[in-house]
């Protein structure tokens, strides 16, 4: 029980009318203290649903999430445990209540969890703002007076003020300009070093993943298809989906001629998942076996797992 976060066979199915949407289909992983795991994938891969389940914003259909030994159901309902998991959201322009000022926004966890008054929380609020690089002149500002980067810093300050042990970062830089992204990521990294907090980092942006994550889990249609150390995955992707994903990212060096065969097709709907391997419709190496076998996520080497029946043997491909 050394892990900060344990996710075991997490599943989540939404039912709307007669349509069942299988957003998360058996996801397991763990995160150590001070570690960052990135969940990457395209829209509909279930990474955001997983994030909400881990934060306790929704209840899983089955499976378990535990943080620091506490079940997420207890954390979500118990005020004393609630501080353990916090979250930073995607849209910088809607992450803050526009009718509140920065002081109340940042102090809200202290007001609710610890029953403090705003004035009693002042010192800690200022400290939290300072820790994200904002001065106390921001206290009385309104969200509409903040730039995207500043909004996201305020959101980070709010997430950190209750001293969480795990922070779920749901595409925290997606709505920011390129030049601001780097700074926000660096800020998150620095905070992690200071506080030894664990991160679950959700992103579709591979560059930001490479910058911040210790390990990467690549998701497709509600499953993890490949998981391993960041450097390993980027240097030597083994799942055909991971390979296609990395290849699709345009290179930033104009001297490199970008000439690829893009991955074919589009992600099927999560309410009509193909039999066998869910990726086979887009996979360049799929054969008949893939239509019948649903590949398990199996270890290849000591630090890596892979869900592909053609790549289950260890060794270079």
């Amino acid at each position: 029980m050394n892990n900060l976060l344990n996710v075991r066979d997490l599943r989540h199915t939404y039912v709307k009318g007669r349509i069942q949407t299988h957003a998360v289909r058996g996801v397991s992983f763990e995160v150590a203290r001070g570690e960052t795991i990135a969940l990457v994938g395209e829209s509909g891969c279930g990474k955001s649903s997983t994030a909400r389940l881990i934060a306790g914003l929704e209840t899983a259909t089955s499976g378990s999430v535990s943080v620091a030994g506490h079940d997420i159901a207890d954390i979500a309902t118990d005020k004393r445990l609630r501080r353990l998991v916090q979250m930073v959201f995607q849209h910088s322009d809607q992450a803050l209540d526009r009718s509140w000022n920065v002081e109340r926004i940042v102090a809200e966890p202290l007001l609710r969890m610890d029953g403090l008054r705003l004035s009693a929380a002042r010192t800690r609020t200022v400290a939290a703002l300072n820790s994200v690089g904002l001065g106390d002149d921001f206290l009385s500002r309104r969200p509409r007076e903040l730039s995207g980067g500043q909004s996201q810093r305020v959101a980070i300050a709010r997430a950190l003020i209750s001293q969480p042990e795990l922070v779920v970062l749901d595409e925290p830089t997606a709505s920011l300009d390129q030049s601001v992204r780097t700074r926000v990521l660096d800020l998150l990294k620095r905070i992690q070093e200071e506080r030894n907090v664990g991160y679950v980092f959700i992103s579709h942006d591979l560059a930001s993943v490479r910058r911040i994550a210790d390990r990467v889990a690549v998701m497709y249609l509600g499953r993890i298809v490949e998981i391993g150390r960041t450097a390993e995955i980027f240097a030597n992707p083994r799942h055909p989906y991971t390979q296609g994903l990395l290849r699709s990212e345009p290179p930033i060096d104009p001297a490199v001629k970008w000439e690829i065969t893009p991955m074919k097709g589009e992600t099927p709907s999560a309410s009509a998942i193909p039999d066998g391997c869910a990726f086979r419709g887009r996979c360049p190496i799929a054969d008949e076996a893939c239509a019948t076998v649903d590949p398990l996520l199996l270890p290849v080497g000591s630090t890596r797992q892979l869900a592909c029946i053609h790549r289950s043997v260890d060794g270079p491909i």
Partner: protein
């Protein structure tokens, strides 16, 4: 060249300002109009004869310098009565609109945020109430409760509330999807805190604008009920009652007892409408 250029630029900029003023003119006209009516209602009675003093010898006198709006069939001064009605009608209408706004917004925000069966129940009832124009609803309630001012107020309030429920619920549903709501849940806020601390303050602007329009409608509904004889009863000076009393006179060519109260009512409703229009334009800009 450059001077010509500057001149055309200045000219078109002026044209642009004019359109801006024209766009805001609704709001300005509305506020001025309402303000004038309120002043008239507050201080007018000080300078006018009592609205209820009858003078049998002076019945149905055409407008002249003594009675600017003429007299009705009991010899009462139509101007004094029309002005006396401002206070009653405006206060009643504004009170009704505010009550309906408060009730409807809270119900709508709660239903929209909590969802599930609470939402089902609230919206089912709202839909059933919306199956009637507010006027019919008010009419039914007044018919069942009795013909008194308080029941008229209750009736028109209930008739106006469903719109606010709809409006607030729609806003609550979209607010609920914004990231700051789960963020405050993670901060430990319970449902009540989320609804009253976050959802309502952000969802309230549309209902607030709707309140002014509703006040206008409430004037029409209240007067309509009185016109049918089930609202405010004579001899109280009220626009609808006065028009009803002037109804038979108009057929004999005496148009003033019905015309003037209607004109004032029109201006009152128009002022609320213009303010509502102007506010929603500003809000959407």
């Amino acid at each position: 060249m450059s001077s010509i250029h500057l001149a055309t630029r200045a000219a078109s900029r002026k044209r642009f300002r004019l359109t801006v003023v024209r766009q805001n003119s609704a709001l300005i006209t509305g506020i001025v109009l309402l303000f004038a009516l309120v002043l008239l209602g507050a201080f007018g009675p000080l300078f006018l004869p009592s609205p209820n003093v009858t003078a049998p010898g002076q019945s149905l006198m055409a407008p002249d310098s003594e009675h600017l709006f003429g007299t009705d069939r009991y010899g009462r001064d139509v101007l004094a009565r029309s002005v006396a009605a401002i206070r009653l009608d405006l206060m009643l209408a504004v009170g009704v609109a505010i009550m309906a706004m408060a009730l409807g917004s809270i119900l709508g925000a709660v239903a929209g945020y909590i969802g599930g069966w609470v939402d089902d129940v609230v919206m089912r009832i709202t839909d059933a109430l919306l199956a009637f124009p507010g006027f019919v609803l008010a009419l039914m309630i007044v018919a069942f409760l009795g013909h008194e001012i308080i029941f008229v107020a209750i009736g028109v309030t209930i008739g106006s509330t469903p719109h606010f429920v709809r409006l607030a619920r729609a806003r609550a549903l979209s607010e609920r999807e914004l990231d700051y709501i789960p963020a405050s849940k993670l901060a430990g806020a319970n449902r009540g805190r989320v609804i009253f601390g976050h959802i309502l303050p952000n969802a309230i602007s549309a209902p607030l604008i709707q309140t002014t329009v509703t006040a206008g409608w409430a004037i029409l509904d209240i007067a309509g009920l009185s016109f049918l004889g089930i609202g405010i009863q004579p001899p109280t000076a009220e626009w609808g009652t006065m028009i009803a009393e002037g109804y038979s006179d108009i057929l004999t060519g005496k148009w003033w007892p019905a015309l003037f109260p209607g004109l004032l009512m029109l201006l009152a409703v128009l002022s609320f409408q213009l303010i509502g229009d102007g506010l929603s334009r500003r809000n959407s800009l």
